[in-house]
């Protein structure tokens, strides 16, 4: 079936709620409105307002009460309305949700999924376009994932909800309206596995979330110019599937990592370091990073410069190939 990213998530949430009565959704405006991106559309109508809970306007409250519910055996799925609003909940996530399993030596689970629309490209105002993934990837005890297409959206949200660890589930908001074929019965790739979405031999681009589509476009343009570029969709940001990247880089000898988040101390740095360790003798060029600048997310009229577009990615591919 041809489905949008948002509708695929909706179908995944619906399926998870059907499968397990302990799954509850909670967040601001998720009931009648169906969320500001309509990801939870009609779910409250069908499952009732005890399972699709419109909460008071308080993110620390949402995650903190979800934590309490999880201790009681529920599987809360929290919606944070926009990336920039997760910070009030940061303490609950990193101090409590992430650590309870470790603190109790495995006796307590916190199977909480925290859905966060993230990233830019929709021309919004401040605090609506951030890429805060590294704060969470840097925190032990959390899984961090991001689908980049409708099929993954459908399967990954279900896997995240079923997982016994807390998952930060980033949804690239500029992809909500992308449409693609989704096979609702297909077997899903494991949640922590990266996917090679374009194969190539000359260089590898690693991307995730909103930048995957830009990387694929860059690879197409490169192909027209006679360069065969492989594109990997990371999917899981913690843990990272280094085996898949390593296999690609041992073949291509060149790696470019791209993400919207600022480059300094970003995920690209982690990937560059590990791949340099693992593929030192295969690398033909230094690992390059193409990302957001090291600035606060800029006003809407400037975001096209800040977001890595196919041209900036291609410039890095050219640099890598020239090395």
């Amino acid at each position: 079936m041809i489905t949008t990213f948002a509708a695929a998530l909706n179908a995944g949430l619906r399926r998870a709620m059907d499968d397990d009565p302990k799954v509850v959704l909670m967040g601001e405006d998720i009931g009648r409105l169906g969320g500001v991106f309509r990801v939870t559309d009609t779910l409250q109508k069908d499952f009732g307002d005890n399972r699709v809970i419109d909460t008071p306007l308080a993110e620390s409250g949402i995650v903190g009460t979800a934590f309490g519910m999880a201790l009681r055996g529920y599987r809360p799925v929290c919606e944070i309305q926009f990336d920039g609003f997760v910070y009030p909940a940061f303490d609950q996530i990193v101090s409590h949700v992430a650590k309870i399993h470790y603190r109790t030596q495995g006796k307590v689970l916190a199977p909480i999924t925290i859905r966060i629309p993230f990233g830019g490209g929709i021309g919004s105002v401040e605090h609506h376009s951030e890429s805060p993934e590294v704060y969470f990837a840097h925190t032990a005890g959390l899984r961090v994932v991001t689908p980049s297409n409708p099929a993954d959206a459908y399967s990954m949200i279900r896997q995240a909800i079923m997982l016994d660890d807390p998952v930060i589930f980033f949804e690239p908001k500029r992809r909500y309206w992308d449409k693609a074929e989704v096979d609702f019965d297909a077997e899903a790739l494991p949640l922590d596995r990266a996917r090679v979405c374009v194969s190539g031999a000359d260089a590898t681009i690693v991307a995730y979330g909103g930048t995957v589509a830009s990387a694929i476009t860059a690879a197409k343009i490169a192909a027209e110019e006679g360069h065969s570029v492989e594109v990997i969709d990371l999917r899981s940001l913690s843990p990272i599937d280094f085996d898949t990247i390593e296999a690609s880089v041992t073949k291509t000898g060149r790696l470019i990592v791209t993400h919207e988040a600022p480059v300094f101390a970003g995920l690209g740095a982690e990937i560059a370091a590990r791949i340099t360790e693992r593929c030192f003798y295969y690398l033909e060029a230094p690992v390059l990073r193409v990302g957001g600048f090291d600035i606060p997310y800029p006003p809407a009229k400037l975001e096209k410069h800040h977001l890595p577009d196919p041209d900036r990615i291609l410039a890095a591919v050219d640099r890598s190939l020239a090395a």
Binding site: E28, D29, G31, R32, L33, G34, V36, D54, T55, P56, L57, A58, S60, G61, G84, F85, Y87, P88, G123, S124, V125, E126, H127, H128, V263, F264, G268, A272, P286, V287, L288, R289, V290, F293, D294, I295, P296, P298, P299, A300, K301, L302, H305, H306, R312, A315, A316, R319, A322
Partner: protein, 370 residues
Amino acid sequence: MTNKTDYPVQLIQPDGRRVLDREHTALIADIGPEQLRALYADLVITRRIDTEATALQRQGQLGLWAPMLGQEAAQVGSAYALRPDDYVFCSYREHAVAYCRGVHPTEITRMWRGVAHSCWDPHAVNMTNPNIIVGSQGLHATGYAYAAHLDGTEIATIAYFGDGASSQGDLAEALGFAASWSAPVVFFCQNNHWAISSPVRIQSATPIARRAYGYGIPGVQVDGNDVLAVLAVTRQAAARARTGGGPSFIEALTYRMGPHTTADDPTRYRSAAETEEWARRDPIARMRKLLERESLWDETFERQVGARADEVADQVRTATIDMPDPAPTQLFDHVYATPHPLITQERSEYAAYLAGDPDEATARPEGVPT
């Protein structure tokens, strides 16, 4: 000020008659014919700014707008109670407060167009820029008020926020700090009954003003569509702040007539009947009835007000359309107050990239050791 939520303070009845409330009428005893007309004019002008900006968004000139339609009296009335040296902390819907503080109409839409994160110079008008993280400004206002008190400056600091924001931990912490420090701050909650799709009952089981009592802060509910009542209670709270009486809490009962923002569709969550009921309590219509009763309204006056509103709306429109896109390298301006090598490097690399100078662009690419 005493705790008062059983009957919201009201000074103008829906038919324009005055309410016999000696305590609060005394607070506006100086508001004569000219001031009444000025209040009315500002209600009309600020509504016109709002409808113009909404239209500009529909025409693609603004990325987004948060309409304040219906909330004019709560904003104009409270802003009239403030002195220029008082300080205002706002959220994103206080366009009428901004206008009354002296923000030029040509500055109101800048952030909404997406050319900058700010609209005006806060220190030029003693009012912060739109604050989008809801509720956080309650703490900022409390800190500012306390600092002003430490400086020996007798001013009031006011924080505007919504009914939804009252659920945030930051707001609870602000009330705690303000009470503990006896800070000269006025908490001004515009209860417009909706936080996007959430009715106020999701936020609070009691009148919001009553929550303040638990912190030892006096709270009052006021008819937020009654410009004189809002002016009276805000004057009282601001005077209390300036004279060492500590914090106060005002809950203005009003209604957001339009969508939450231009991206919102209120038909998904609320009934037309409810909106119509509130349309009958329109703050401008009520003030006009008062002026008519007191023989202060005539068609010449109405024409003058309309002409002034048109002129201001035209300023908003022209300025908005004329706002150029910022130059790309402005990305890197003002990230730090002092030079920062990483930003300096990124600025020059990106400028070179844009100029298409491959030598410059490859001189020291990110991640390549030198």
